[in-house]
Amino acid sequence: MAEAPGMNRRALLSGGLRGLGLLGIGTATGALATRDKRDDEVWQIDPDACIQCGLCATECVLEISAVKTVHSHGMCGYCELCTGYFEPDPVNLDEGAENQLCPTGAIERTYIEHPYYEYRIKPDLCVGCGKCVKGCNMFGNGSLYLQVNHDRCVDCNRCAIATACPAEAFRLVPRSEPYLLRGKEEA
């Protein structure tokens, strides 16, 4: 095949541009890769910033949100009348559906001793609406709060809930410590 006169020039130009491209990618990669903070990060909710708007239940890319209520038992008052468990002004202080706050029945209430009751979250049933959290924060001491459960979280590059979160309560935390738990000291 006859060599066109432009072919050499073309190859040279192509080679030069290729070198430029390599240089560009290399510079960008190098600049980014040499940053100090190297730990892998995951999304988590700062419970102190959360305002329980309910978007965690609706904005997650998963059908049932990865955000669920977490209970710091060490902070809990073990109240008989738990405002995170009972509807405001419950008819009776028993486990009947008419008294329960949680729409999916995800809180389990067990009697410990008079007058203390223990409350546990069943993660399978929790959908992360934050209703109990609001009840607990409004009247109680905030031992219930929302967290991204990392067995379910798919680690989206930019968390869809974080994008929607009005309180900007989502932030990146190291994968080695993926939760922002309250009252950890007591445990």
Partner: protein
């Protein structure tokens, strides 16, 4: 495989598989879509499938807590809803996998069918020479797209306002302040007239029109009071109102502040503390207790609020309380405390700053730029300290600032501060503010006179333009004049006088036996008089006299003239600001 008949039969089979798989996928996708709608509703809200019913039943139970049957129904429904919810959730998950499998089968079958049909016959639609032609067409298309795109984007971007900057960006928080702030800007006359921007309302006339006046109020029982807010610092100044904001100031010997109050809730939205380095150099001025440190009423034009204090500090703040400018006009020298309220003409703040004695040469009138506080003009006044608030009127196209002091009544041109006309008539410590109606301005002061001056003169018009003058009665020492057209009213030591506006003859007098400090106002044609004890006396006035209609107590002393907003009355008591209004709506 090579046998064409087998091949053809296989093809048909595979085709059918593809059709079945395709239909299956389509149906399943539809079901999943429907399921998703059931889970999330068409409005994208997140709820159990039939939650309203459950919530309704719970409410019913709250009303009748003993109904065991109702409890059972709630429990059953609750369980049904939960089961339904999680059933649908798991259907969504399992359905997703099934759809994936179905889709896979569909695609595989289609590929197989194509493969069984054998390679397609190449159709050589294009000829080599077509390439250049198609390239030209494509280039035109690309170019055209780019042009259309540019135009569309430019149109889209150009039409948008940067709405996040609609916030009053005053105070230089933004490097690029909204351009309107520094430009000459002022509200249209009808905008002024619709607000209560300064002492005694639009034009300083003391005339208000309020729709939906409340039937009455009582500050002690709370009747008719929409809200009541404690004002942290005391002040005799009246509130000014612009749309849904109320502004007023308060001060003590060493603290000064302007407040922005939400007209709906009465919440103090912001409080802008006032302090200038110059102001703090001087000792606090000596003032009379009744005057206080914040007697002059502020002004606002809806974008900025300007207030002056007894120590000579004058500041402008944005409607969000952000500081715009602050100045000190020189140490006050005033027997009772500075009390001349501010006025505004266009974007100028009119300040009468009379100090000391006539021979001290300290008194002047200034016009400050409302946006920057810079002095636009300043004119010396040959008068001692006075307490009259300036009033801006317009007569035959000529705006005038009316002022009164001992002994000169002077009208200035607000454009440049030049004197238009003056009358030598006053004496004593002049305090009541003037009234104006149809080319005639009325001035008064206790121990001096009540005088009507035609405002179309120029120069010293003492001998030429005085319509009438009388000096035989008692005249007010604080309460401003009010003119409703036919009559001019004065409030003197608990008595109300009416004079004929054209002749100056006294028409009648009415004894009220109350003390007054606030200026009378005319509301929807009725005269309102506010006693020091906080009672508002409302009456009709005609040629015959004053016919009292109602008295509404506030339960708190009143020294300030009321302000008005749409359907609202704002009364400033000694400690609180009250909003009075009829039913909301």
């Amino acid at each position: 495989m090579s046998d064409p008949e087998v091949r053809s039969a296989l093809r048909v089979a595979v085709h059918r598989i593809a059709i079945v798989a395709g239909v299956f996928c389509a149906v399943l996708a539809g079901l999943l879509w429907h399921n998703g709608i059931q889970l999330h509703r068409a409005d994208e809200s997140f709820r159990l499938v039939d939650s309203e019913k459950l919530v309704g039943l719970k409410q019913q139970l709250a009303a009748d807590p003993g109904d065991a049957d109702l409890k059972d129904r709630i429990r059953t429904l609750d369980q049904d809803l939960r089961l339904e919810y999680f059933r649908r959730q798991s259907f969504a998950t399992r359905g997703g996998f099934t759809l994936l499998g179905g889709g896979l089968a569909f695609i595989v079958a289609l590929h197989l069918a194509r493969h069984l049909r054998g390679p397609r016959v190449p159709v050589f639609s294009a000829k080599p020479e077509d390439r250049m032609r198609s390239a030209q067409v494509a280039a035109k298309a690309v170019g055209g797209t780019l042009i259309v795109l540019t135009g569309l984007t430019a149109a889209m971007v150009g039409g948008r306002t940067r709405q996040w900057q609609a916030a009053p960006a005053v105070g230089g928080d933004l490097p690029e302040p909204a351009p309107t702030v520094n430009e000459a800007w002022w509200p249209e006359p009808e905008e002024w007239a619709a607000q209560w921007p300064c002492f005694r309302g639009p034009g300083g006339m003391g005339v208000a029109t309020v729709d939906k006046l409340p039937a009455g109020w009582n500050g002690e029982t709370g009747e008719g009071i929409l809200w009541k807010t404690a004002i942290p610092l005391p002040g005799e100044n009246s509130p000014v109102v612009w749309e849904d904001r109320i502004y007023l100031s308060g001060a003590t010997e060493d603290e000064r502040a302007i407040y922005g109050i939400d007209a709906t809730t009465g919440r103090i939205l912001w409080s802008a503390p006032v302090s200038t380095p110059q102001g703090s150099r001087f000792d606090p001025p000596a003032v009379m207790e009744e005057t206080g440190f914040a007697a002059p009423t502020a002004v606002t034009d809806g974008r900025r609020v300007i207030a002056i204090f007894a120590n000579g500090e004058i500041v402008g703040v944005g409607t969000d309380g952000s500081p715009l400018w602050a100045r000190h006009l020189g140490e006050a020298d005033n027997l009772y405390g500075h009390a001349n309220s501010l006025a505004m003409w266009r974007d100028l703040v009119i300040v009468v700053y009379d100090r000391g004695g006539a021979e001290d040469g300290l008194s002047r009138i200034l016009a400050l730029d409302a946006a920057t506080g810079e002095t636009r003009w300043s004119t010396d006044r040959p008068v001692p300290a006075s307490w009259v608030s300036p009033m801006v009127i317009e007569h035959e196209g000529q705006p005038q600032i009316l002022t009164a002091a001992n002994p000169w009544i002077i009208a200035y041109d607000p454009a440049d501060g030049s004197e238009l006309w003056k009358v030598k008539a006053m004496s004593g410590d002049v305090a009541p503010s003037p009234a104006y109606h149809d080319g005639v301005a009325y001035f008064t002061n206790t121990g001096a006179c009540l005088i009507a001056v035609k405002v179309d003169g120029r120069g010293d018009v003492t001998d030429s333009h005085v319509l009438w003058k009388r000096d035989e009665d008692d005249y007010p020492d604080i309460c401003s004049l009010l003119c409703d057209g036919p009559r001019v009213y004065t409030v003197v030591y608990g008595r109300l006088f009416a004079y004929d506006a054209q002749s100056g003859d006294q028409v009648w007098e009415h004894d009220l036996e109350d003390d007054f400090q606030a200026s009378p106002v005319l509301v929807n044609g009725r005269l309102w008089l506010l006693t020091m004890e906080g009672e508002t006396i409302i009456g009709d006035v005609d040629a015959e006299g004053f016919h009292e209609v109602a008295r509404h107590p506030l339960g708190e002393e009143i020294g300030a003239t009321p302000a008005f907003g749409p359907g609202r009355i704002y009364l400033r008591g000694r400690e609180h600001l009250y909003a009075i209004g009829g039913d909301e709506g």
